[in-house]
Symmetry: D2
Amino acid sequence: MATPLGIAVIGTGRMGADHVRRIQEVVSGARVTAVVDIEAERAKAVAARVEGCAVHTDPAAAMASAEVDAVLVASPGPAHEAALMAAFARDLPVLCEKPLTPDAASALRLVEAERALGRRRVQVGFMRRYDAEYTRLKALLETGQLGRPLMLHQRHRNVASASFFTSDMLITDSVAHEVDVTRWLAGDEITAVTVLRPASSAGAPEGLIDPQFVVLETAGGALADVEIFVNCGFGYQVQAEAVCERGTARVGDGHAMVTAMAGRWGGSITQDWTERFADAYDREVQAWVDATRRGEVTGPSIWDGYAAAAVCEAGVRSLHEGGRVEVELAPRPSLYG
Amino acid sequence: MATPLGIAVIGTGRMGADHVRRIQEVVSGARVTAVVDIEAERAKAVAARVEGCAVHTDPAAAMASAEVDAVLVASPGPAHEAALMAAFARDLPVLCEKPLTPDAASALRLVEAERALGRRRVQVGFMRRYDAEYTRLKALLETGQLGRPLMLHQRHRNVASASFFTSDMLITDSVAHEVDVTRWLAGDEITAVTVLRPASSAGAPEGLIDPQFVVLETAGGALADVEIFVNCGFGYQVQAEAVCERGTARVGDGHAMVTAMAGRWGGSITQDWTERFADAYDREVQAWVDATRRGEVTGPSIWDGYAAAAVCEAGVRSLHEGGRVEVELAPRPSLYG
Amino acid sequence: MATPLGIAVIGTGRMGADHVRRIQEVVSGARVTAVVDIEAERAKAVAARVEGCAVHTDPAAAMASAEVDAVLVASPGPAHEAALMAAFARDLPVLCEKPLTPDAASALRLVEAERALGRRRVQVGFMRRYDAEYTRLKALLETGQLGRPLMLHQRHRNVASASFFTSDMLITDSVAHEVDVTRWLAGDEITAVTVLRPASSAGAPEGLIDPQFVVLETAGGALADVEIFVNCGFGYQVQAEAVCERGTARVGDGHAMVTAMAGRWGGSITQDWTERFADAYDREVQAWVDATRRGEVTGPSIWDGYAAAAVCEAGVRSLHEGGRVEVELAPRPSLYG
Amino acid sequence: MATPLGIAVIGTGRMGADHVRRIQEVVSGARVTAVVDIEAERAKAVAARVEGCAVHTDPAAAMASAEVDAVLVASPGPAHEAALMAAFARDLPVLCEKPLTPDAASALRLVEAERALGRRRVQVGFMRRYDAEYTRLKALLETGQLGRPLMLHQRHRNVASASFFTSDMLITDSVAHEVDVTRWLAGDEITAVTVLRPASSAGAPEGLIDPQFVVLETAGGALADVEIFVNCGFGYQVQAEAVCERGTARVGDGHAMVTAMAGRWGGSITQDWTERFADAYDREVQAWVDATRRGEVTGPSIWDGYAAAAVCEAGVRSLHEGGRVEVELAPRPSLYG
């Protein structure tokens, strides 16, 4: 296909605006032909930097344009379901930011809707799967040389949480990534969640349960633990160690440049995800554009989005009620392999 | 004290014989004046390599000699209680290998007996506390610059387990070290234990539950997790990462020499504890000899041995019955600070 | 500029074909509108994968097309001078692969020609300057927190050299990169070169002087050493350590994923430059496209290409004649700052 | 031998006093029976801490005592020759601190004197050979799996130099260690030295040529380079990387404990040699005591001390006169294998 893919970006907040920049300046073979936001002024400001970019406040209106070949959904989670249903009505391919929807019930409705279409239309934005290190870890596990993964130790640390961040969001917003990574690396569904509460850090806002320690069990018997600590103070670290039958593999040390000065050796720690995962986002969107131009849908599916939502719901229950909570999943449609 | 300390070594199996060699060839200011074993031939073989070393089959008989100033107990765990009681009767200082005794009840009798003497006589052989890296980690935590420890992630991996190793022994023999390390680093008692069972490795002997994942809770709210994997196949690794309010610290990477060859960079992994912790054993025994010659008793106490036994008993119950098991400790005598 | 930049790629060998792929599939805002090769069949094969791409055997003919806004020169070094002169005649911006030309005299003619134009038209392909780690090292040095760089230790290792590789080419083809890196990091010209010959490896082809050890001196007194070893057998490694007045900084360890298996910890070593520097090439070409669309010329200049050629010539003399050889540079035109 | 080895320590400055402490408190099977210093008060102060320790101002007088079985020479270098000659007269085994003597001529006289005795009596204090990491590197090279060593990159950095430290002493006092390490690892003599002078650091005292960069050539064609930087400001680092025909091996990273805090990961750098090489000194003296009690002499020989002195003399000439200076060695007596 010689013509660049015309993309409507739904949502022009921090993430949406960044995707507009990415499509215009980084990604090959695509351009932004429309932006959509219920706050028209914000959308106009973003569109002003893109030649020939339409502005809408209604996703469906944008999708009606002949200039729009595909849709990138970056609006707040509660708006995702309507946007995806509109895209389904037009049979448009979609890249939908995570979380797919705020709860498992709505996610399951989307599973049903896509299943009714009879083919996949949506890639969900679990961008860890496009990070070079995680990709390498997945590839190593697939060679089988380490044997079956038995345990997965994961760390997810942020410098400080936003003021609106709640104890539940450590699960639904942060651990959601590890939920997807665990399912992806283990090649298996998660069947139970236990959220443990160490003493909260003096560095966390009053009332926030931080850190938390989450144990995930998979159908095949693998055990994954996740330290989530969103006010660790010192940096943004995302690490994973797969412990297999014949060896281990670890990613996320981030040891690119090593300095020695003032009695210390070592390096700097990234301070947020835009720095740590910039390349992963670039690869994710490029992969989506490339697949779409080939007429394909690849990457994390709506089912992956639904499963993550269901696991996070169980996690929030475990956080509130204590103890182990089993995850109930709907039957998996054959569309999702 | 100019004269070397005369030591009776009780038990001349692998560990006891190694301690005899250590005292004779490595440690300054001490010599072995008697060895004791119920298997007299084994004791004689060891004594033959030491000038002027008496041989006994009864610990009490050895302790009656004027040549014996102190006792090192390296006999099997079930024999420890009698040996220590004999030493108490003679008021002799003791270095007792771990485990102190096989169960919490007998350990508590020793606590009582030493409390009745009114002063500490025993150092228990938790030699991790003498390892250079663990010592450095403890020192860093004590500076307070990282803030309070909230979580402690620990890994304990062996190449392969001995034929007699049982699922319980992953707790009582291996995790016992992490139980002591956790209490020592956190400066706190452990109040509950949960043992989780990932799928067992195909590399583990039939019927052995290996690996296991153990969660320890401390009175102050710190959470420690321990991966114990005694048939990991690739090496002996003991690692700990303390996650504190303002930073983390990790020991046990063991990255001494780095090679690059045949498409790989990296280094070798030690294959067993005699290689990894040789220096720690040397320092442990030297520290005990030095303290004893100064008329002092330092290092891990009988109370530490008792607390570890109680935690391990709770761990074994959790392994068998599932779920979280609380640890019940007797009141701590003032002798143990 | 809304229209993509139309690029003529001169040379469709391995490097040229890879740049065509890069521009079509990776880089944003550009497309290949013409390819040029004296071997017409090779050019046609490459053009067949690009919609609307013209095929030429003469660079000047390609540059005459209105579809060509800029030129990427990836032909063999001896053909660079003519191609650049043709581009100068059309006033077209150029990205020219390294080496600029095979010798300092021809490079100096290009310096003169561009100086006569009165403004920079050419970016030379020293892609190390676009590598994430080198960029970080440069940025750190520029903060001044380490003080002035005094020494620069560099390693450049290849698995095996191509059959046509000569002892001179270790300098002109491989060390040429370190020559540019040294000038760039030190912010200074190189004034003398000494090439030392350790015993050659049994793994090197008969007659090839490999490894070599090159010492570079800069006008400001910094000393750079380069180990060049093109038949090291185990991997492709490019490392640099800057030793400054108050600290050191090292890049190139390449420690992304760490595994532990079979008694070894560590990771894999990249096997060639396409793997190690793929991102650097992507960034280089994107940076050139972006600057060109803004009407600017940035990055390494023809002067940088000339200076590298002059240093390499001195290096080859040192290799052949032994001892230290001083570098003679023409006066630097003000165009090059 | 049941009785501890009685040792006379010659010289009770910082190094001598530390050896006294080491023999009394760390080393097994030995005790200090005499100390010697021309400053009697200093000797008395050290002797006061050791039971039954005689005090002398003349080495020969100390050696006349029946209590003295062996001699440890830790006096200033110029006093070594007389002390060793006195020990030869008594046929006493000696551990002599490095440098053996201040110049090659006096070192050669000692070679002659020991050769005349017909058997080795002296171990020279190149304690790097007893460091765990260097020992491991040597062992790896001896397996032959990396092939022949072609290059050896070495770094030797000190926080700050003492006020009396001269530019020559960077060679004779510091690089002397790398001279021995190079000879030991390469298994070969050094045939030429070139000392290069990068710009001196602003952190070095006025007039001191610091850092220096030293290139050593061996008879077998291996090339060793040494960065010596005695005012690097940030820590004490001693590193070596052997580049062999099929791989490389590096020691000295010192990555024992890794912390993450305040935006940085990494660890602390030792601040001086007493911290970095304490274990090497302990092992060195223990190895000497053990060999002596077995009636053997092992470790670095007087020949090693002489060769290091000759190389350092050539190095100082290169530093002063510039260029490459060849090393002239006397014929090697068969006593030294």
